[in-house]
């Protein structure tokens, strides 16, 4: 399997904490690692099929209360010993870094000297999002040691969260600084405009 295929391994990694349905897998992954990893159903269900095809997971079909032919069908996936070995091998491989792609920064770079209003709106939105993210990650780091969440290593989990925390702190600081710079530029633009108007009035 190519090193790019991370989704099946992410699922396998979550299965190590116990057998789960596709739906629950996504919920747990997003609750535990949503701040630094995300998966959509369009990847999860095909990914689970691939795991069973490779013999890395077994699928058990369970039926709801009725037990008969009708009623809700639920698939519970369980990691096999072969899957555990595959996961260990993948975990030992060095992680791939993704190429940098930040559309906000690109737009900032490509923008004009006098394009100030739109960017300041984006930065303000980013500030709100990152502030919230920071609140989230700090709350998680606080409750995790007392909590009952299943995990393989609390320390490693906290390390990952600490990375998110530091990145968010940096983002927040940048937003605040950038916002004040943009404000100064807005004022300068406004002065420039009134000066031009005085020289060549429209009225």
């Amino acid at each position: 399997m190519r090193p790019g295929r991370t989704t099946p391994f992410a699922l396998l990694g979550m299965l190590r904490l116990g057998p789960q349905s596709g739906y629950a897998l996504r919920r747990e992954l997003s609750a535990a690692a949503g701040l630094f990893w995300s998966e959509s159903y369009g990847q999860i269900y095909p990914g689970l099929r691939e795991l069973t095809r490779r013999g890395w997971a077994k699928r058990r079909v369970e039926r709801g209360a009725g037990g008969g032919p009708r009623g809700r069908v639920r698939h519970r996936y369980e990691m096999t010993p072969k899957g555990a070995r595959a996961l260990q091998a993948w975990l030992a491989l060095p992680p791939r870094r993704s190429a940098p792609r930040d559309e906000l920064l690109l737009k900032l770079y490509l923008g004009d000297r006098d394009t100030v209003d739109a960017p300041s709106g984006w930065v303000r939105r980013l500030l709100l999002e990152e502030t919230d993210r920071l609140r989230q990650v700090r709350r998680m780091m606080e409750i995790l040691p007392r909590g009952t969440h299943a995990h393989r290593s609390l320390r490693h989990w906290l390390m990952a969260l600490e990375f998110v925390e530091r990145q968010s702190e940096a983002s927040v600081a940048w937003c605040q600084r950038t916002l004040s710079t943009l404000e100064l530029m807005q004022e300068a633009n406004a002065r420039r405009r009134t000066a031009l108007q005085r020289r060549s009035p429209m009225e």
Copy 2:
């Protein structure tokens, strides 16, 4: 055009600084914005074709020194007024954030309590990369104001670079802290192993 299509607009944005060939476009984009944006040829050439198809850029075919039917063919793209309007409209749109996807953090989270050696190697590598990145961005921020690089707004460019700087600083700090934590865990593991060995020696 769907909001996801950023590549053609990135190209258009670079064309605003002057007519360029596809090859030069990539070189310039990577030199100016490579720290926060990247494009590969697999996107650039189809992207340029799309720009001409939409009438946002004009393609001029130039021939090398010979001038005859043989010799190197070079395509120089030039933004049209229509392209300028399309770019302005796109620039005004709020930037899309990409979903968080950090494989290092995922592997950290999915890893075992006793899996310490591999991660510390990755973190050490990241520390080197981020230190280098920090050097690069600081050098750029220093020489840019004196330099002769074409740009639309030096201030906006510096803002984008400052974001990269802060993110890299945060990464470096995290790497250092995490490395020392991992070292402590390694020592604890080693102690645990020798203690086990003392109780049940292999010899």
